[in-house]
């Protein structure tokens, strides 16, 4: 047991079918509790849709979404034990940092002393101390995502969904943010589903990889196998490596 009282919860998509316009998706997958799973795949393969189904922004047409063994298919997003960080628009632009984080505690912003202490601790932890009164537009892109992570801390839910939250950050900043996510995961032990296009990012923090193609799960496995070049062929093609070698190397004139 970690200090917060509960560890991560297992997430399962049990024969979930979903369609949006022309695109159809079918997911059948289990994400182990307390692990970080990288969700990868080409654009349009359904990565964000998968996360939206877990978060409750989309409702499956058939099948079930189970979190900690509980069918939450009908539950509203707010009622699910889930926090999600989006690529952008994680903050209300007219509210200060403090209030944006506070909404994670109370949707009416009626905060107790305990809540305030938790908010201040979360801001400390994410390196935002002293910036409580700032508005989102007065923050850098990295800082804005830190605010979102601070809210994840005060919400304290056993599942964390990251939908390419660091895609628009530079390499150094991205590395910092990944480190922060890894550290928070170490403390809280929540289950993390992490959508990313960057193999390095997945390699850096993920335990497992789920690879999607054409709206379905094409392969799953341990991250170290995927990145050691022994992963499925479709994945190798996607990241541009064949036979364990980078295409860049292969293309070099000899």
């Amino acid at each position: 047991m970690s200090a917060n009282g509960h560890r991560g919860a297992a997430v399962q998509l049990d024969n979930v079918a979903f369609s949006y316009g022309e695109a159809t998706f079918r997911f059948d997958a289990a994400f182990p509790a307390g692990a970080i799973t990288a969700v990868m795949g080409p654009s349009g393969s359904g990565k964000s849709t998968l996360l939206n189904l877990v978060a409750g922004f989309e409702v499956p047409q058939s099948g079930r979404v189970l979190i900690d063994g509980v069918d939450v298919s009908d539950a509203s997003p707010a009622a699910r034990p889930v926090s999600m960080v989006f690529q952008e628009n994680n903050l209300f632009s007219h509210l200060s940092v403090e209030r944006n984080v506070g909404l994670g505690r109370s949707p009416s912003l009626k905060l107790t002393e305990d809540d305030r202490a938790a908010i201040s601790a979360a801001l400390d932890r994410t390196g935002l101390a002293g910036k409580e009164k700032r508005l989102p537009r007065e923050l850098s892109g990295g800082e804005r995502q830190r605010v979102a992570l601070a809210r994840v801390l005060v919400r304290d839910r056993p599942v964390l969904l990251l939908d390419e939250p660091f895609a628009s950050l530079g390499p150094a900043l991205r590395a910092d943010m990944l480190e922060l996510v890894a550290a928070l995961h170490g403390e809280k032990g929540m289950t993390v589903l992490f959508v990313t296009h960057q193999p390095q990012d997945a390699e850096r923090i993920a335990d497992h990889v789920v690879f999607l193609e054409d709206g379905a799960i094409a392969a799953t496995g341990l991250a170290r196998d995927f990145f050691a070049g022994t992963g499925p062929e479709a994945f190798q093609r996607y990241i541009g490596r064949q036979d364990g070698r980078s295409r860049d190397v292969a293309r070099k004139p000899t």
Binding site: G5, V59, R64, G69, D74, S76, T112, A118, R155
Partner: protein
């Protein structure tokens, strides 16, 4: 460290007595109705470690409160319009033979004139507007261009009554041009009444409107096309045939339709400038049937005809893809890469100057005539003060109502659009969307007439005046208010929807914390615009007004009727300035939002 959790997390599990087993995957659909066990669904799950029951509250899978608000707004509108129709039907059924026999040659003549003046007004407004817009678009930069375009936006903001007075002050029997016109025609100038008066006033309103709309169509032509035209060495003829012509032709049906619609439902202009039964439209005839002849049967027949007429026109308009609320904001003029010849420039300048003189004339006349009035005495008059106060209170209530209605409809439309997953639009969403614009089919006079007939059985017609004026004007301003509110709400929702859903911010909390800060400005825009519209209105008040219940436009009409022309001119100046101020404030508020 203890956890700082004042309340247990909402998803916390708690043991509950085992209930009947539910096996297999339950098909989940978008808006599945929540189970009726007090908002909580008991989910069961088979796990290797035994069966545990969870309680999961379902706040947002239940009907969105925004949709409920939208339904309330629609209900309000439906009662207002439906009540009027019931009143008309009851009056018609009560005197069926009377209503049928009211379809006499007089009524047919009125209907014919209504269409005739609208067709002429449209022709005289739209045709010149095509060329004025082309002239303005050929010269995207010249001194005073912005000013001219702003001036062309003024008639849209002016109450029709003020414009009518401006036209009279210029071309009337005692107008500024009477002397010139008398010596030019060799006779005593009889003043501009009847068809000519109506046409001049309608063109004064609609020429600038059509010009701005055509100009917008021309400015929407991609810059690359102008570059290409210049590179290929196209002359003005080729440019007109290949670029300007097609752009204008595409905009023509919509703009003509809009102008035709505005002229067919024009009441105030025809009432003040028509000058008699020879030049009466259906709306004015309804008013006369109720207020002067008290002939309900005739009023019913006229109203039925008016509704049928507007319904046909609006259906045609919808086919043409016209926007009945008429956009008036102009984009930045793109640079043109061809230089017109000297003769072309002179022609354009002449066109623009003539249009400018035509539009500015009545405005200047309004100001000049207004300043000649004894404004100090007018403002001090008790009846003027009382009318002004009544006007302001009613317009305020009406504007608040319009803003609330438009917000409720915008919210409901967005919520419905979000909850749907296929392309087919449900009827309710259609109502909150394009359907709201259809209130313009039922002119204020028609609604007023219906309620007037219904209320005469239920007691004092005039006692209901304040409610009727505020409610009808609010509903009439609503389609315009929606224009300001909906884009802002949709954009904010685009950014905030998922976040709010995840954090469970809904209902009042959502409005207070999330929506209000974003919507303050667009709502103020909607409010100011609706207030201006309501302040200047002489539709419903013409039916319901009385000595004890006067608004400024009503008082103005009364002063005109008793030949106190100077007083009327003074009041028109005051009313015009207030409305202008409000509309430009609305415009400013709207622009700063996007900045």
């Amino acid at each position: 460290m203890a956890r700082h959790t004042p309340t247990p997390p909402r998803y916390a599990r708690h043991p509950s007595p085992s209930k009947g087993e539910r096996k297999g995957a339950k098909p989940a659909t978008g808006i599945s109705s929540p189970p009726s066990n007090g908002g909580e669904v008991v989910c069961e799950a088979n796990r290797s470690g035994g069966r545990i029951s969870y309680a999961v509250p379902l706040p947002s899978r239940a009907r969105d409160s925004r949709v409920t608000l939208g339904i309330l707004a629609l209900a309000f509108i439906a009662i207002l319009i439906g009540g009027a129709l019931v009143g008309l039907l009851a009056a018609g059924a009560g005197d069926l033979s009377g209503a049928v026999s009211a379809f006499d040659p007089y009524l047919m003549r009125v209907a014919r004139f209504t269409l005739w003046q609208a067709a002429l007004s449209t022709l005289l407004s739209v045709l010149p507007a095509l060329f004025v817009a082309r002239a303005l678009s050929r010269h995207p930069r010249f001194f005073g261009r912005t000013l001219i375009l702003q001036l062309f936006a003024v008639p849209l903001a002016l109450p029709a009554l003020v414009a009518a007075l401006g036209v009279l002050a210029l071309y009337g029997r005692a107008g500024y041009f009477a002397g010139v016109l008398s010596s030019a025609t060799g006779n005593d100038w009889p003043g501009i009444y009847g068809l000519s008066g109506i046409l001049v006033a309608h063109v004064f309103f609609n020429l600038p409107l059509a010009t701005r709309l055509f100009l917008e169509a021309l400015q929407a032509v991609p810059t690359d096309q102008w570059r290409l035209a210049s590179q290929l060495g196209m002359g003005p003829g080729a440019i007109f045939r290949l670029i300007e012509g097609p752009a204008l032709r595409q905009a023509l049906p919509g703009i003509s339709g809009l102008v035709f619609m505005l002229c067919i439902t024009s009441f105030t202009i025809v009432l003040t400038l028509g000058g008699g039964p020879a030049a009466s439209t259906l709306e004015v005839a309804i008013y006369q049937a109720l207020r002067f002849d008290f002939d309900p049967a005739r009023a019913v027949a006229l109203t039925a005809l008016q509704i049928a007429l507007t319904a046909v026109v609006v259906t045609l308009l919808a086919r043409l893809g016209a926007d009945m609320t008429g956009e008036s904001s102009l984009s930045v003029a793109p640079r043109r890469y061809t230089t017109p010849s000297v003769a072309g420039t002179a022609f354009d300048a002449a066109l623009i100057l003539i249009a400018l003189a035509f539009v500015a004339g009545p405005m200047l006349a309004t100001v000049a005539a207004g300043l000649q009035a004894d404004l100090g005495r007018l403002v001090g008059e008790a009846s003027v003060q009382k009318a002004a106060l009544t006007s302001i209170v009613l317009a305020f209530v009406s504007a608040v109502l319009a803003a609330v209605l438009s917000l409720a409809l915008a919210m409901a439309r967005r919520a419905l659009a979000l909850s749907r997953r296929d392309r087919r639009r449900p009827f309710l969403e259609f109502l909150t969307d394009t359907g709201a614009g259809f209130v313009l089919v039922v002119p204020p006079i028609v609604i007023g007439a219906g309620w007037f007939l219904a209320l005469r059985h239920l007691g004092s017609v005039f006692g209901a005046a304040p409610v009727m004026v505020a409610a009808v004007n609010a509903v009439m301003a609503m389609p315009f208010a929606i224009r300001a509110v909906r884009p802002a709400y949709d954009a904010a929702s685009e950014r905030h929807e998922r976040l709010a859903a995840q954090l469970g911010i809904a209902g009042w909390n959502r409005f207070r914390l999330i929506d209000w800060p974003v919507l303050r400005r667009p709502l103020a825009t909607a409010f100011a615009f609706a207030m201006a519209l309501s302040l200047g209105d002489l539709g419903v008040i013409a039916l319901f007004g009385s000595d004890s219940m006067q608004t400024l436009p009503y008082l103005l009409l009364a002063r005109m009727g008793s030949y106190r022309t100077a007083d009327a001119a003074g009041l028109a100046l005051i009313l015009g300035l207030v409305c202008l101020f409000l509309v430009f404030a609305a415009d400013r508020l709207g622009k700063e939002r996007t900045a």
